[in-house]
């Protein structure tokens, strides 16, 4: 099964290369995002409101799109990024991805630790080595809005810092983004170190 996923991802990367080679139609990616008021919180229950960060999308090296500039002035913190990524109410990246570095943190003698760090998914490719496969700007684009980052716009990976036109959003989550700009920067720093 894992080989199948890898093959899909390899195809995605290959077509990304092809796409990247021609700069046709790329201008539309360049349009600036306006600042909009959106709130963010863990699983949308409570939490401080924040705004959708202003970001500029540019062409990536391997992927069709990237965000070269950080969303926040404060640099990302990789350690905090790991915790945000595993938290089921925040990134919940483990729902779909295997990350060896996280698995290594799972303490087999502690049920809570095993549950938090030991339960991984295989919907997306394992994230081991993503820091070497993609630039920081591309990793940022992937977390912010994967439908723009990947050549496959039908990807099931959720957008963590973008306004989506999704239907039936649970009331507490309406008008909110999944992760704050700072959390995105933290996760990007964490991904960057997965080499």
């Amino acid at each position: 099964m894992k080989t199948v996923i890898r093959t899909i991802c390899a195809c995605a990367a290959a077509s990304a290369l092809l796409l990247g080679a021609s700069s046709d139609g790329f201008a539309e990616h360049e349009k600036k995002k306006k600042v909009r008021k959106v709130r963010t919180s863990s699983a949308c229950s409570a939490g401080a409101s924040s705004s959708l960060a202003r970001y500029k999308i540019e062409k990536g090296e391997v992927l069709p799109a990237s965000i070269p500039k950080a969303l926040t002035k404060k640099p990302g913190n990789a350690e905090r990024g790991l915790e945000t990524a595993v938290n089921p109410g925040k990134g919940n990246c483990l729902a779909c991805h295997h990350i060896a570095k996280v698995l290594a943190k799972a303490d087999k003698s502690d049920e809570k630790s095993l549950k938090l760090y030991g339960n991984h998914g295989e919907v997306g490719a394992p994230l081991n080595g993503v820091g070497a496969r993609y630039s920081k700007a591309e990793l940022r684009m992937i977390v912010v809005d994967p439908k723009k980052a990947f050549p496959d716009v039908t990807t099931v990976m959720p957008a963590y810092h973008a306004r989506t036109a999704s239907k039936d959003v649970k009331r507490a989550c309406r008008g909110r983004v999944m992760l704050s700009a700072q959390s995105v920067e933290d996760i990007v720093s964490f991904l960057e170190e997965l080499k």
Partner: protein, 272 residues
């Protein structure tokens, strides 16, 4: 319970394979009945369960939801309401009259001009013909009757074509299944058509069929209809939940029944 179970496991492993098969829920793939089906082969949710959970489901004495079957049998014969009738006064022996019913549901109900699922149909019988109060969603008596009725079709293949008056409702159910929703912007098909067999945070994702519902959930320690299961998926993607008896749920259930046609009725299933 555990020790008892491993005893059964031992016997079962020594038993010839054939003894397990008939009527015990297929764990082999079935070809979809219709050509324009999103899945190449159908696998019951039971296929993705652990062997322990599967054994529990197949054992009438150990399956926790089978207690409700017994209660349903008693309720079937119980006179209720102003018309002083029971289910059996109209339908007689359920083993005969309800055989195959679950394979055809949700079915079109002429009096309301729309499809209804088994639970709604039971309540329509109560209010219209027995002049009794409807049973509340997820209540023990409603689950018991639903399991009792559906169990009469155990091992029979689901067979919903969605033709005639059902056509437009089936389409609505399909639209619901394939439309992205919730803050995560994900659709039912995005998980269950595309990634069945893959782990989702260490849980094996099934094809999302409804042929085993109502089912017993070990983690919730509770038997539930399809509704709480679908709502759990909707919570996962941070979408608004569905309501019992609603048109949206019934249409979705109709599409799920069409999508599972060919698989055996396994009610009541056991899930982790």
């Amino acid at each position: 319970m555990r020790r008892h179970l491993s005893g059964i496991l031992l016997i079962a492993t020594l038993w010839p394979v054939q003894a397990m098969a008939a009527g015990d829920g297929k764990t082999e793939a079935v070809k979809p009945a219709s050509g324009n089906h999103p899945l190449k082969e159908l696998w019951s949710g039971t296929h993705y369960s652990t062997p322990e959970v599967r054994k529990l489901q197949y054992s009438d004495s150990d399956n926790p939801a089978m207690k409700l079957f017994g209660k349903g049998e008693a309720l079937w014969k119980k006179t209720e309401g102003k018309a002083k009738k029971s289910c059996s006064s109209c339908h007689g022996d359920a083993a005969k009259s309800m055989k195959g019913t679950a394979t055809r549901f949700p079915a079109f109900f002429k009096l309301t001009s729309r499809p209804v699922n088994i639970e709604t149909r039971i309540n329509l019988c109560r209010t219209k013909f027995m002049q009794a109060r409807p049973l509340s969603p997820e209540s023990e008596p409603l689950l018991a009757l639903s399991i009792y009725v559906k169990r009469q079709s155990k091992g029979m293949a689901m067979s919903v074509t969605g033709d005639g008056p059902l056509k437009s409702f089936l389409q609505k159910g399909k639209d619901y299944f394939t439309t992205r929703r919730g803050q995560l912007d994900m659709s039912c098909s995005g998980c269950h058509d595309k990634y069945a067999g893959h782990l989702y945070r260490a849980v094996k994702m099934s094809q999302g069929h409804a042929n085993g519902f109502p089912a017993y959930s070990q983690s919730k320690k509770k038997t539930g209809s399809l509704l709480p299961q679908v709502n759990q998926c909707l919570v996962r993607v941070r979408a608004t939940p569905l309501k019992a008896g609603s048109e949206k749920l019934t249409n979705l259930e109709l599409y799920l029944a069409w999508r599972a046609s060919g698989l055996e009725v396994e009610t009541p299933a056991v899930r982790e």
